[in-house]
């Protein structure tokens, strides 16, 4: 039995954050006590026509859904109550960013450069 495979799980499903959004096929892979990795299988995520790269992704691209230092997520939490809702939210802001060039979901870049958050 492959111990590696036993400790690894992945979930693939469809998310549509708003009624007028596209339907996204998303995969979350998770190694026990590792970090969950979230990627969008379809439709393909892409940069804007004006060249702006996709905000808040790692290489892959994989979605950056939480701040590691702030302990917003830890392995004791249910993926369905954290990673999945955050993925929906990310997709909502991604779509608005695709249309407008503005990311209004807030966030932080590595190095601590805080993105100006949309006033509430």
């Amino acid at each position: 039995m492959d111990l590696y495979r036993c400790n690894k799980a992945s979930w693939t499903g469809q998310l549509r954050p708003a009624s007028l959004s596209a339907e996204y096929t998303v995969r979350v892979s998770y190694k026990w006590e590792g970090k969950p990795r979230v990627s969008v299988l379809s439709p393909t995520l892409h940069a804007r026509e004006d060249g702006q790269p996709i905000p808040h992704v790692y290489d892959g691209p994989e979605l950056c859904l939480y701040l590691p230092k702030a302990r917003e997520w830890d392995p004791s939490m249910q993926l369905s109550e954290t990673i999945l809702p955050w993925t929906s939210l990310w997709l909502l802001y991604y779509e608005a960013w695709q249309s407008t060039g503005v990311w209004t979901g807030g966030g932080v870049h590595p190095g601590g450069v805080k993105i100006a958050e949309k006033k509430s």
Partner: protein
Amino acid sequence: MLAIESVDTQLDELLALICEELQLPEGKHRLAEERYRSIGAWLCEPGSRLAAFTPQIYPQGSLSIGTPVKPWGRDVHDLDLVCELLLNHERIANPLVLLSELEARLRERGIYTLERKNRCIRVVYASDFHMDIMSAVPHNAGTPGSLLVPDRDAKAWKPSNPKGYTAWFNGRVALVLPVREAMAKAIEPLPRPQAATEKEPLRLVVQLIKRWRDMTYQATPDYAPISVVLTTLAGHSYSGLISVNQALMEALDKIVATIDRAPGRIVVRNPTNQLEDFSERWDENPKAYAAFTAGIKDFQKRWKGVNALRGPQLNKALESLFGEKVTQNAVLKQVEAVSKARDSGLLRVAGATGLLTSALKSRAIAVPRNTFYGD
């Protein structure tokens, strides 16, 4: 409930937010009101040469029926007023004297820049908008509110009925009221105030069609169908639907059907004054009519298409119809409502589909605080 929770409410809200972007902003509206009152007072006050004829000043056009659309390109917004004088038209040998008297009174103030138009005197301001003042007398033989208006090109009286038109249009707008009242009774009031969707659907439909017209006929303004024709066609087609998206589809379908049924060109008369043919310019300009029919059929096709799209493609289609900036601003406003819920800790997600919501449904999961990261 968030508007994004259903296709209908999200699209309707997006369209209402687009229309909000098309309105005269608050400040300009107040300025318009000041200028309107100031001119009205000058025309009516005891020292005025018009005072003996009991002038009545009232608005006509888009401001009076709540369908203003901000100027596109070079056009400066114009505000339309009527100056109605109590005179018997049979006693007036030359109708155009009404225009010259109006002009003379305006000139007396010494502060206005004036232009002569076919049926009105235009007061030109340095910025923002013009005021087009139409001079008229009552037409007692006609329906209530009927006027006779001096027309320079025709060198004669032309019939009109702006008050009647306003009343007719508002009557069409009000078809939605029974549905609204029924819904208000059926739904408990929300704790927070209502959003952009206060405006009645027919008014939004007219704003959207006018905006489409401005975008489509930019390069060929001579072929652009005039606002009163579009407004009247929309008014006739409206049946009381509460969804602005569906009402727009209904309007386009009915207009195209009317065009296809008509033996020649369609005729769009003032519903309250059959003597007034709003569409008479098409007689001298068949190319304009052809451009109108081709355009409206294209709009119909594209609107059907919009309803089948999702995601950024949908927004792109709206941009091509109504403009990039207004659509993008509307998209951002709509997402802001979700962000507000998120910041207040009220955001939830439906487990099965990932649909974001603010409702406390049994299978809705609260969205915990998070900070997006990465490059």
